[in-house]
Amino acid sequence: MYGLGILNGFMVTLKNFIRRPFTISYPEQRAPQHPRFRGEEFTWYEERCTGCASCAKFCPLGIIRIVTHPSQETPAEGDSYAIDVFDIDIGRCMFCGLCVEACPYDALFMGSGFEEAKYRRQDLVISVERLRTAEKRPSTWYRPQLEAQNYDPRRGEPMTWQGAGREPWPYHLPLRPTTEEMTTDREAKP
């Protein structure tokens, strides 16, 4: 009544007029990004990857394609399968992180960037070469061992595969089974 409510509204807008704007000018300034941010490019440690394709199976959209071949020259903790193709089509990816959650050997991490705009759809497919050579700044999403180190992917050094460590989840295998175990197990089953 009497227009007092309207005057109240004017006071609120005037107060906000004097306040600093809460938006920021994006390319120059950036909003703080939290370490768990599920970024666009993926971080992959070949040294850990066994080529089990759990990530491909868990992907709700089926956008991960993995081709392997048996090899004796596999690096570090990887299995005796070498990766030929590891395509992630981030053009269709929704960054739910289920692939990272599925990875039993902590080889795949979410990335931390979000500026992956490309001019062609083909360029959106992350190839194995790019995964190998990219700077490794993994997101701490679903990786409490990184969080325990207070790792922030936007600051500090890129993470090595030894530094990335293994997660302590109870339902993930604590250690990689040896090749002998794998073969005996396989033979034992009909």
Binding site: R36, F58, S139, T140
Partner: protein
């Protein structure tokens, strides 16, 4: 002198600035007065229910994110509750508290969006919308800390949440809880006493209790009519039985009540979050559930009080890793059924406001 006039039919939408997505209304006008209104939808149909039958129970969580895309958390919650009922899993305490905190924050975010867009539809040139988005951004920041995403969260899992909240989350949440009541006061000062808004919304598009119950309307739209029905009170799930909160009720069931009730609910949600932060204790957040959930043969229906109304998921399991049938009871869709009754006889300008006050989300209507 009576004037002769002819009714004219106008398609409002699917490309209209304020139909909240690709919603279409076929309206017959006499001048500015609405004679008949027919909602037409399906422009955003993505076949979520069918898609879910091809995915494992965990993968379906990503589909529920995209139903009501401004309230992913509550969608997640409703779905995982149905899964847990189906699989007979009891999530740990801390997981339930985290879920309730996340869901209540999401309710605030969703109501902020609803209020902002309602006021924007009233013509308050984006100012209240920007103010509401300012606080919504802070909630989304909290979500980013919590689960790494802002909109499509996928935070909850069958048997809890995927991961505990990080250390930095709790102080940030406390700061937010301290500041948010002032911002809610600011929205109220900005417009809720404003004479223009009051004249435009009081007594407009009244929905009676009978009409609401006949249309099985739920959520703030039902409570605005004065009918006390909140699933958090009526059928408490998770830890809602252990927190104190009021259920704000409207009186007239008009657009003003529907606007006001959302602001009051935001306050109550803050109360719930505060109590949860007090009560939460350390512990596991996720029950020992295998990555591939295989519930026994059977079916389960689970419902929660979503920001827009009763959100229910009906799941039928055939014992495999994917649901045999996946049915969504989406509140936006069912609340739309009373739209025609609310519109007839009112003006073109009221149509937009009424639509905004129901707070539909096309992702949920069309699924």
């Amino acid at each position: 002198m009576p004037m002769r006039s002819e009714p004219v039919t106008v398609n409002v939408g699917p490309q209209h600035p304020s139909t909240h997505g690709v919603f279409r209304l076929r309206i017959t006008f006499d001048g500015e007065v609405i004679l008949d209104a027919e909602p037409v939808f399906g422009y955003l149909h993505r076949g979520s229910e069918k898609l879910a039958e091809e995915r494992t129970y965990t993968q379906v969580i990503t589909l529920t994110d995209r139903l009501d895309y401004v309230a992913s958390m509550t969608n997640n919650q409703a779905y995982v509750l149905a899964c847990e009922k189906l699989a007979g899993v009891q999530p740990p305490e801390r997981g339930m508290y985290l879920r309730v905190i996340a869901a209540e924050l999401q309710r605030i975010a969703s109501h902020l969006m609803a209020t902002g867009f309602l006021l924007n539809d009233l013509g308050a040139f984006a100012t209240p919308l920007m103010y509401c988005f300012r606080e919504r951004e802070r909630i989304l920041d909290l979500f980013e800390m919590l689960c790494g995403a802002r909109i499509t969260l996928s935070y909850m899992r069958v048997g809890g949440v995927f991961q505990d909240a990080p250390e930095e989350f709790w102080p940030a949440l406390r700061i937010f809880l301290g500041e948010m009541p002032h911002y809610i006061d600011e929205y109220e000062r900005l417009l809720s006493e404003n004479e223009i808004l009051v004249t435009r919304t009081k007594g407009v598009s009244v929905l009676t209790v009978d009409q609401a119950l006949n249309g099985s309307v739920t959520g703030p739209v039902l409570r605005a009519t004065g009918f006390p029905w909140d699933l958090r009170k009526v059928d408490p799930y998770e830890v809602y039985g252990r927190v104190k909160f009021d259920v704000p009720l409207g009186r007239a069931g008009d657009n003003y009540d529907r606007f006001k009730i959302r602001i009051d609910e935001m306050r109550q949600s803050l109360r719930i979050v505060e109590q949860c932060v007090e009560q939460i204790e350390p512990g596991p957040v996720r029950a020992d559930v295998p990555a591939l959930v295989r519930p026994p043969v059977g079916d389960a229906y689970s419902r929660i009080e979503g920001p827009k109304g009763e959100l229910g998921f009906y799941l039928v399991s055939d014992g495999s890793v994917a649901p045999y049938r996946f049915k969504i009871r989406s509140p936006s869709f069912i609340n739309l059924t009373v739209l025609r009754d609310m519109l007839i006889g009112w003006k073109l300008a009221d149509m937009i406001v009424t639509l905004g006050s129901i707070d539909i989300n096309m992702g949920e209507v069309d699924r």
